[in-house]
């Protein structure tokens, strides 16, 4: 399995979640000061790092690869379906596109109304932790499914964290133009495909073309998502 596929998937998934977290952290910073915003971010990142550091190697070394794949594979399938389904709903107009600017304005108003200034740390911590938790689970899951994958998946997430942090500092405002839905759709396709491939392997399924089958599965899921989007759009119009 190509490590770049794993790193690319965690990079995209992490970028989406960190962009969403950055919106909340910026709102806290501008409303209640950067000390609360950065402290909340730091402790949430540390908590997520601890989850990966403890559970990544633990699960990876705990049992035979096939057994672990059988446990984590279905999680990836369900995560993948969830990400892809939401992206399809948004493309089809069944769910509104996520608007970082609107979320930022709403958070800013809520935090400005908190005159005692006590919410900031908790909001920043919760924002980063909740958005990052799924990424942490994905990273740990990858590590469990492939012994060599921990470094690749952590690498992808770490690069996303650095990129989003640098962009946040440079822009000083929410990321209104990031193609979040396209990134979510791509992450959904990859999680779903990797989950299918690994779970199948663990159950003794012999894939038609070995590792290359993963690309075919991913292509089929992307095509299915496009079809579902078209079908739902037609329903909206009729």
């Amino acid at each position: 399995m190509n490590g770049w596929v794993l790193a690319g998937t965690t990079f995209l998934a992490s970028s989406v979640e960190f962009v969403e977290a950055a919106t909340i952290v910026m709102a806290v910073g501008y409303a209640q000061g950067w000390r609360a915003a950065l402290l909340g971010t730091f402790w949430a990142t540390a908590a997520l790092g601890a989850i990966v550091a403890v559970f990544g190697p633990l699960i990876g070394n705990a049992a035979s690869l096939a057994r672990i794949q059988l446990v984590v594979g279905p999680f990836l399938i369900l995560f993948g379906i969830g990400w892809l389904r939401k992206a399809v709903w948004r493309y089809a107009g069944r769910k509104s596109m996520r608007d970082e600017q609107a979320i930022y304005d709403r958070e800013l108003a809520r935090l400005n109304a908190d005159r005692e200034g006590r919410l900031g740390f908790a909001v920043a911590f919760q924002g980063v932790f909740v958005e990052g938790l799924e990424v942490a689970v994905i990273v740990v899951t990858f590590a469990a499914a492939r012994a060599s994958a921990l470094a690749w998946s952590i690498g992808g997430a770490a690069i996303a964290l650095v990129a989003v942090t640098i962009a946040s500092v440079a822009l000083h405002k929410p990321f209104a133009r990031v193609p979040e839905n396209a990134m979510k759709a791509l992450v959904g396709v990859m999680l779903f495909a990797l989950g299918t491939f690994w779970t199948g392997e663990a159950l003794g399924i012999v894939w038609w073309a070995g590792d290359a089958t993963l690309l075919a599965i991913a292509g089929a899921y992307a095509a299915a998502a496009a079809l579902a989007t078209l079908a739902l759009r037609k329903r909206v119009q009729t």
């Binding site: 279905p74 999680f75 399938i77 369900l78 995560f79 379906i81 969830g82 892809l84 389904r85 939401k86 399809v88 709903w89 089809a92 069944r94 799924e134 779903f192 299918t196 779970t199 199948g200 159950l203 003794g204 399924i205 012999v206 894939w207 038609w208 599965i217 089929a220 899921y221 299915a224 998502a225 579902a228 079908a231 739902l232 329903r235």
Partner: protein
């Protein structure tokens, strides 16, 4: 119960079709070892593909 609901939402995103379809695919793969390997792989993949469509359409009504 609330925490179970939260975990279910986190893992399955509130979908019923997704966990049911995934469980069905696992059962077919586990008990279908008598089938030809290519057929078994196609059945497993096909069930998951249909699960995606069912899950996407179930909540979009």
């Amino acid at each position: 119960m609330k925490i179970l609901g939260e975990i279910y939402d986190f893992v399955a995103g509130g979908s019923i079709a997704a966990p049911v379809g995934a469980a069905l695919a696992l059962l077919v793969a586990h008990f279908g070892s008598g089938l030809a390997p290519a057929v078994l792989a196609a059945a497993f993949f096909g069930i998951l593909l249909l699960t995606f469509f069912a899950s996407t359409l179930e909540r979009a009504r």
